[in-house]
């Protein structure tokens, strides 16, 4: 991607600089999209790392100090912090500034932020469907969003100009930008992301609690399938707690469907109904092929995982 002739924004303030915030900084610098990048972070160590790694020119303890003079403000902290954050930064936001976020839930975020937004400030909620199980500023990388979807959920306080500018910004570092209704976003992500995380956390927890099978056995024989689940069950606990607290309705709905279907599978096993099992196990194969064809997954067997002994 070629650098744009002029930066899209003069000053970007990242509120929080973990995996996503630091990846945005790297992507933005790689493509020369903003004039200046600053951040705020609660912990001293994070601020130090952010500066040392050249992710920002200044790192503030208080978010209100970061937003001064910024024409782009991105909330990159867990959703549970948004309400308090908005109270803090609202009086300091520039006229004409664009506020966005990267939270994994959108309707609650819109409901939280819009009433706290000053006149003359634009807001467009957003969600990059990308990530990894690592957290913190050192875990980010510039290509994290490349060829991944970045969903915008425009709402009452989103001007067309703001939506267009944010689309241009995210596209410039390789994201595919899509617009969606916030409520529908939450339903789609409940099944493609939130419930998968919940059941991964759950099975790892179940395995950890067993008396009959030791933890050492679980670890030794995890290559039979279990280890796949441990990846997303290693994701940031604060972020995920807030996702479930803020997308309750859709998660419970999708979880209800999952449990119904699982009960049917359980019944098929109990009754030795091989035909039902075979039928379900066959049709699930097709969907992976389509995800690979859509460029959202590697075609390599085993995720192209390098055998861990190679690293030793």
């Amino acid at each position: 991607m070629a650098h744009l002739e002029a930066p899209l924004f003069k000053k970007m303030a990242l509120i929080g600089i973990g995996l996503i915030g630091s990846s945005i900084s790297r992507a933005v610098q790689k493509h020369g999209l903003v004039g200046e990048i600053v951040c705020s972070a609660r912990t001293k160590d994070t601020r130090r790392v952010a500066k040392e790694m050249g992710l920002v020119s200044a790192a503030y303890e208080h978010s209100k100090d970061a937003v001064v003079g910024a024409d782009l403000v991105i909330l990159c902290t867990p959703i549970g912090t948004y309400a308090k954050l908005m109270e803090e930064i609202a009086p300091y936001l520039e006229q004409g500034a664009l506020v966005t976020d990267v939270g994994s839930v959108k309707q609650t975020v819109v409901d939280l932020i819009e009433p706290r937004l000053p006149e003359g400030v634009d807001f467009v909620a957003g969600h990059p469907v990308a990530g990894s199980e690592k957290s913190g500023p050192a875990a980010g990388y510039a290509d994290l969003f490349d060829n991944r979807w970045w969903i915008l959920t425009p709402s009452e306080k989103s001007t067309d100009a703001a939506v267009e500018k944010l689309t241009q910004f995210c596209s410039a570092f390789g994201s595919n930008v899509e617009q969606m209704d916030p409520k529908h976003h939450d339903l789609v992500l409940a099944i493609t992301s939130h419930v998968p995380h919940l059941i991964a956390y759950n099975i790892v927890g179940t395995a950890d609690d067993l008396q009959e099978v030791t933890r050492s056995e679980v670890i030794k024989y995890s290559a039979g399938g279990f280890r796949d689940f441990t990846r997303i069950a290693a994701s940031d606990p604060t972020m995920w707690r807030d996702v479930f607290l803020n997308n309750k309705e859709a998660v419970l709905e999708m979880l209800g469907r999952f449990t119904e279907d699982l009960t049917a599978l359980q019944r098929a096993i109990r009754r030795s109904d091989g035909d039902t099992l075979f039928e379900i196990f066959t049709r699930t194969r097709a969907i992976r092929r389509q995800i690979i064809d859509a460029g959202q997954e590697t075609a390599e067997p085993d995720f192209g995982r390098s055998a861990s002994h190679d690293e030793k």
Copy 2:
């Protein structure tokens, strides 16, 4: 690993040559462990591929033809075929031959095979805890078992000499060999492999059935976590049907624990009990670290997945 001075077995017969059978052939050839390799396979195309790829010197339609003169016979077909197979090959097995298998369930296998075994033939049930979502003879590779566990479950008809020779054989191509009671094996694998596969198949099925979220949306936004599950849900349906039919008791037991725990998580979400969610999401992180430390998983974020756009 250096080649042994003399081959461990003079002739190995692989009954079935899919992912596992073909990987055994490759591993055995790489390390020069047997004098001759033959196989049987039901479909003509599989036999053709096995010969063309140099996996075997001869490929037979009928298993009884493959076992003639073989001192090592490995059943590499779905467990549901074992009973009929044993009826077919029993009269043709060599005196002193060693029969083993690679099935993911062990108690039923012991119960099925031992009564059908002729006098003077050794039997040691086995299970390599390794695999990928790909099937067929072309999908195998020589390093599939390297640094993975190969569990042997000796039973009444397993002589000490047979167990020792099979241990030497599997160790020679890099596996870590462990002995276990067949029933305990089935309990351990129920939680580390069978239930994970079941819930992966299940969520992919649930997502596929939704009316409110289209299949195209599921595919587009699968990088949020869902795609991880599609890998194991793309595994061979016949093999997995047979696993569940043959490990009913342990799978239903472990599934019961999983469902109880999931109900508790559901309740925590419904009651907005953030502390319970946070506590569970925190302790699951540790177990992945231990799996990585045990050399059973890559430490790379996102499984070291290459972004799929790189392949285009």
